[in-house]
Amino acid sequence: MASPSPPPTASSTSSSPHRKLLHSLIYWAVQRCRVSESPCRLTVSVKRSPEPARSSPLRIAVSDTGVGSKLEEFLELDALARDTPVEKWDGTLLITTTGINDKTIYHYQFNLQQETSSSARFTKLSTTYKSHAIFSGTEVSLCLSNEADVDDFILWLVGFVHKNLACELFIEQTDSAGSGNVCMSQGSDDVHLPITTSSIDRLVSGLKDYALSHGNASDKCEACYMNRDCLKIGTGAVNNVDRRKAKGQFVEVVIMIAHTSSDLSCWISNCSSTQVLHFEDFIPCPISQSSFNVLMSIDWQSYGFKLKGGFMDDDGNAVLQWDNITFARVDIAIHTYHGGAVNEWKISQPERHLVRKALKSALLGLKVDHAEDFLSCHGQKVREYVPDLAESIAGLILSSSDQEFQDECIALLGLGSDQDLTEGSVRSCIGEKMNRIIEMNDTKDNVEHNSPYLFECEKIDEDSQLDEDDADQDMILDF
C-alpha cells in the first residue's frame, strides 16, 4: 500500500536537498509515532567535528520509538537522491527498525544512488536479537557532506525541530580535544504532558513555549516565563470527520497574545509582525496558498487587529504584518491533519472553510474571554470617547445644587450614599457601565435600531442624518 508522501516543502530553489531529506525523514518518524498511539520519543542527532570543518561529514540520525518501518517510504527518496549530487549525499541510508512484536532488530542499508536493478541497492545487514525487552522503533542515519553553511543548516534544523514542539534535538560538537558537548536540547514544557492530552492542548503548550522563548531556539526567557499566565489564549478546533468512514480532516488553531507591558522589557514594544506556525500531520510545513488566502481574508478588525498586509516568506511561512496594535506578541499556530488509518489518507489541501472556521473560533474565544482586550477597531474608537463623556455627565451631576437630583443620579448608578462621593468615583462608574455596553454590543448588528431614545418622540426618520457639511444649505453663517 502506498504510504503517504510528506507534504511539499518550500520551493526547490530555496531549500537545500539536506533540508528536504530531513523533512521527509522526520515526517515519517512522526507518522510512525502517531500510529503507535502510545507516547513516543523522537530524536534527531547531528554530529560533526569542528576541525578541518570542510572535509568532515555531518552524521545525522533520526530515531523514533514509534511502530516499525516497512521501508517503503524510503523509496520515495529516489527522486531526491538522483537530484542530489553524489558529493553532497552518497544516497546511503542505514536503517535500523523493529516492530513491537518482532523478536529481532533488523538492520538495512539502502543505497538510493544505485539503479533499481542493482544488487548494491538494498542490503540486509545482520540482525540483533532483543532479549526480553519489548519495544519498537526506527533509526535512520546518513552522512551528508559538510557544507560551508552547516551552521545555517543546524540553525534551520533547530528551528524546524523547535517548531515541532515535542521532540528532542541533540547536537554534539566534538572539539579537537575530543570531548563531547551537548550543545542544545529542546524538550516540551517543564512537565511532560499526560498521555490523554489532546493534540490541541499540546499545540497550546508548545506555542506557549515558543512564545515564552521569543520564538527562537534559545533557552526560555526567564522574565517572560514568570509572566506566562498573562498570555491570552484562544483556540479553535474543527473537523469534517465522516463517522462512518472514520476519516476526515482536522484543523486546529491556537492564537496566543501577550499585551504590551511597561513592566516587562521583553513586552514593551508593539508587535509589528507575526510568522504563522503551520503544521500538517504533526510536522512543520509551509503554508498552502489557500490557507494563506484565508488568513488574509479574515475580518481581523472585528477583533481589534489592524492588518497592514501579509506575505509568504522564502521558507513558505505566512507572515502577517500589523499596523500599530497594542500587543507585544501575537503568535498563531495552525495545524491540519488527517484522521483515520494512515494508509487511507488522501493527501489534499485542507478545506478552506475548515481553516476559516477554526481561525474564527479561536478569535471568538479570545473575544469572549477577554472582551475589553479584543474590542473591534470600531469599538475601540467609540471607547475613546467614553472618558470625556463620563467626565461631562459627572461634572453636570456634581455641579447641581439640587440635592434630590443628585441623590436620584447616585441611586441609579448604584453608588451608595454612604460612600465618599467624588467626581472621580461618579465618572468611573458611568465610564465602566458604558464600556461594558460597548463590549457587549461590539460587532452586533442593528444596535442602533434597538437603542432607546433619550426622550419619547413620534417618529424617527430612519435614513436622515444630520449632515455636518450642510452649513451652507440655508446660507446661514454664524448667527
Partner: protein
C-alpha cells in the same frame, strides 16, 4: 381640504405640524437637562438591557421644512420645522464626537443657568476650546451643537443662557427706552447708529416711540452708514436697521417687535442684486431652518425695494460682476424652495440668465448723494415687490 384645516388651526392655536422651541425660564431648562441625565443613567443602569441612549433631534433639513402661508394679504408667511427626527448616536461611525459635544454644551449651559449668567456663542466657543479642544475646534462646532441642544430640549437658544451676537445697528426717528435706563434718541447718533444688544430679554422690554413712516432694512453696513451720514431719515421719516450681513436673531427679533408695535410701518429691504441678497431678504421674511424651531416667530412682511431688475438701467456695464459658484448654489437652493414668490423667482431667474450680479454701491456712479434720492424716490413711488 387639508389647507383650510391648517388655516383654522393656525388662527386658533398652534399648527400641530409645527415644531417649536419654548421660551423657558432657567429653572425649567435646568429641569429638562436633569431629566435628560436621569433618562440616560436609567438606560445605562437598566438591569436587563443596559444601553447607551440615542439622542433624538428635530431634523433641520429641507425635507422636514414646511411653509406656513399668510392668511391675510399683508400677513406673514413663515418657514417652520415639522416633527421628523434624526439621531445622534455614540456608537455610530463619525457621529461619536458630535454626540459628546451635545453633552458638553448641556453641561456648560446647566452651569451657566445655575449662575444666572448669559454668554455669547463666541464666549462659549473659547470656554469649550480651552476645556475640550479635541471636540471643539471651530465656531461652527459650537453653533451646530447649540442648535442640536435646542432641538433636543426644545427650548430657545436664549433660554439656554446663550445670547445672540450683537451685530445689528439701528438709527433714525425712534427713541428707545430701556428699563431703568436713559432713553436713547436714535436720530442724533453718529453714522454707526445704536448697537442692537444680543440679549433678547432686554430687547423684549424696550419701549419704542417713533414718528417714522417707514422701516428701511439695509443689507450692508457701508450702505447703512452712507444713508445715516446723509441723515436720510430726516428727509424721509424712517428708521434704518442693519444686521451687517446675514440676519442674526437679535436684529430679526427687534425688527419683528417694531413691526408689531408699528403695524402700519412698511418694511423695505435694500439689498445687493445677487442671490445672496435675496436670501437675506427671505431670511427676514420667512425665517431659516438652521434655527427653524425659533426663527419662525420673527418672520416679517418685508418688501423688496432695491436693487431690482428695473434698476439695472442705472448701473453702468462696468459695475457688473460674474456670478460665482456660491451664488449659483444659493440660487439653486432658493429656486427649489416652496416659499419663493413669483416676482422674486422672476428676479432670480433674470440674474441667472444674465449670469451677472451688481452691488448697491454701483449707484454711486451717479454721485454719492444719488443713493438717498434713489431710496426716497422708490419709497414715495411705491416701487417695491
Amino acid at each position: 381640504m387639508a389647507e383650510s384645516g391648517v388655516a383654522a388651526a393656525s388662527l386658533f392655536g398652534t399648527d400641530p405640524r409645527l415644531c417649536s422651541a419654548d421660551v423657558l425660564p432657567p429653572a425649567e431648562v435646568r429641569a429638562r437637562i436633569e431629566v435628560a441625565v436621569l433618562n440616560f443613567l436609567a438606560a445605562l443602569a437598566d438591569p436587563s438591557a443596559p444601553a447607551i441612549s440615542v439622542l433624538p433631534l428635530i431634523s433641520r433639513s429641507a425635507a422636514n421644512r414646511g411653509v406656513r402661508r399668510a392668511l391675510l394679504r399683508d400677513g406673514v408667511s413663515s418657514v417652520y420645522l415639522s416633527h421628523a427626527f434624526c439621531r445622534r448616536s455614540l456608537t455610530r461611525a463619525n457621529d461619536g464626537k458630535a454626540f459628546v459635544r451635545v453633552w458638553k454644551v448641556m453641561e456648560v449651559c446647566y452651569k451657566i443657568l445655575g449662575e444666572g449668567k448669559l454668554v455669547t456663542q463666541r464666549e462659549l466657543f473659547y470656554k469649550l476650546l480651552s476645556d475640550s479642544p479635541s471636540y471643539f475646534s471651530c465656531q461652527r462646532h459650537i453653533n451646530q451643537t447649540v442648535q442640536d441642544v435646542v432641538s433636543l430640549l426644545r427650548c430657545t437658544r436664549q433660554s439656554l443662557g446663550i445670547m445672540a451676537s450683537s451685530r445689528g445697528a439701528l438709527i433714525g426717528r425712534i427713541v428707545l427706552q430701556g428699563l431703568g435706563e436713559e432713553h436713547v434718541d436714535c436720530s442724533i447718533l453718529g453714522p454707526s447708529g445704536h448697537a442692537i444688544t444680543g440679549d433678547l430679554n432686554v430687547l423684549s422690554k424696550l419701549i419704542f416711540s417713533s414718528d417714522a413712516r417707514y422701516l428701511i432694512l439695509v443689507e450692508k453696513d457701508a450702505i447703512f452708514q452712507r444713508l445715516a451720514e446723509d441723515r436720510i431719515y430726516n428727509h424721509l421719516p424712517s428708521i434704518l436697521i442693519t444686521a451687517k450681513g446675514y440676519p442674526d436673531l437679535a436684529t430679526r427679533f427687534i425688527l419683528h417687535r417694531l413691526s408689531l408695535t408699528f403695524p402700519n410701518m412698511p418694511i423695505f429691504a435694500l439689498v445687493d442684486w445677487n442671490p445672496a441678497g435675496l436670501a437675506i431678504l427671505c431670511t427676514y421674511k420667512y425665517g431659516s431652518i438652521s434655527m427653524g424651531l425659533e426663527s419662525y416667530r420673527y418672520a416679517c412682511n418685508v418688501k423688496w425695494l432695491g436693487l431690482r431688475g428695473d434698476d439695472l438701467q442705472l448701473i453702468p456695464q462696468s459695475a457688473y460682476q460674474e456670478l460665482k459658484p456660491r451664488d449659483l448654489q444659493i440660487a439653486k437652493s432658493l429656486l427649489s424652495s416652496k416659499f419663493l414668490q413669483e416676482k422674486h423667482r422672476a428676479e432670480l431667474t433674470l440674474m441667472l440668465e444674465m449670469g451677472k450680479r451688481a452691488e448697491i454701491e454701483a449707484l454711486y456712479s451717479h454721485g454719492f448723494d444719488f443713493l438717498g434720492k434713489y431710496v426716497a424716490r422708490k419709497v414715495v413711488q411705491g416701487d417695491y415687490i
